[in-house]
């Protein structure tokens, strides 16, 4: 499970260095991210720009991470590739989770 922890002024970014978030690693992914979040600030960003395949197991892991966010922390997904974005759209989970558009110039002024 390859994840990179990038500390930010207001929290942390977790970059997923796996090309596939599938059933083979969904549980390990969920557990690793949860343990990383435990030690960070309020804003948690999950950078998925390196992921080009996500199945329902990977989606379930992301939802589980969202549900387990400690009080006062927010989770933002960033860098969704078209294949990954499709899964969120098809399952309507794009309406539940906070997704930052891929363009790096469009930083959300609200944070």
């Amino acid at each position: 499970m390859q994840l990179t922890l990038l500390p930010q002024p207001d929290g942390l970014t977790i970059r997923v260095d796996e090309k596939r978030l599938d059933a083979a690693i969904a549980t390990a992914f969920k557990d690793s991210v949860r343990s990383m979040i435990a030690g960070g600030g309020p804003q948690v960003t999950l950078d998925l720009s390196g992921v080009d395949f996500l199945d329902s197991s990977g989606l379930g892991a992301v939802i589980a991470i969202y549900k387990a966010m400690p009080a006062g922390r927010t989770l933002t997904l960033a860098g969704l590739t078209p294949n990954v974005e499709r899964v969120f759209q098809l399952t309507r989970m794009d309406t539940v989770l906070t997704i930052r558009k891929a363009d790096p110039r469009q930083q959300d002024p609200q944070g």
């Binding site: 596939r20 599938d22 059933a23 083979a24 395949f53 199945d55 329902s56 197991s57 989606l59 379930g60 892991a61 939802i63 589980a64 969202y66 549900k67 009080a71 078209p82 294949n83 499709r86 899964v87 098809l90 399952t91 309507r92 989970m93 309406t95 539940v96």
Partner: protein, 196 residues
């Protein structure tokens, strides 16, 4: 191997008209072997249709194969060494005019009939506002919805100890080259005629 399946295997080895890609693989149900099969499939089919279509094919097959890994194992039938008997999957995928035909068979537990009924999303409400509502969000139950959303002509039957599942991932052909007569619905006629 029966005469019928031998005949089917022979058919599979023949290059289809137009040299369109196909894949046939046999493997034990396990998330790692599923991943390897899908990566092989992706390599073989890349360029044979739009990338979006190949991605939908990969996702639909991932959901089907993951379900076999997760639910197909017969825990009452233990192999040597005490490990449960993971189903043996036969995967066959062929590019046709108008679609990519998939046939998946396995010797795992029977597929519940409810899987093939029309599936709605496990969750469609507005974004949950409080912590309690968030905890009710589903972490699973998306698989069969995705399969039905991404495929056409989904059909299933059980014969002997095997599940047979067949479906098509539709392809909209951008251009038909001169001389190649359009064969509408060819993909729809595909069925895994494994029983002879």
């Amino acid at each position: 191997m029966t005469a019928a399946s031998e005949q089917a295997a022979k058919r599979l080895r023949q290059p289809p008209p137009g040299r369109k890609p196909m894949v046939h693989r046999i493997f034990r149900a396990d998330p790692a072997t599923v991943r390897a099969a899908l990566q092989f499939l992706r390599e073989r089919f890349d360029g044979s249709a739009e990338d979006e279509v190949i991605s939908k094919l990969e996702l639909a097959l991932a959901e089907v194969l993951n379900n076999i890994c997760e639910h197909g194992t017969r825990h009452e039938a233990v192999r040597l060494g005490g490990r449960p008997h993971a189903p043996l999957i036969h995967l066959c995928v062929a590019r046709h005019v108008g679609g990519i035909a998939c046939a998946v068979t396995d010797d795992g537990r029977p597929l519940p009939a409810s899987c093939l009924e029309s599936h709605s999303l496990p969750w469609t409400g507005p974004p949950p506002q409080d912590a309690e509502a968030i905890l009710l969000l589903p972490e699973g139950g998306f698989g069969w919805f995705l399969i039905q959303e991404l495929t056409a002509s989904l059909s299933y039957f059980r014969e002997g100890r095997r599940n047979f599942l067949a479906f098509i991932v539709p392809v909209t052909e951008p251009l038909l080259t001169a001389g190649a007569a359009p064969q509408q619905g060819e993909g729809d006629q595909f069925s895994p005629n494994c029983s002879g």
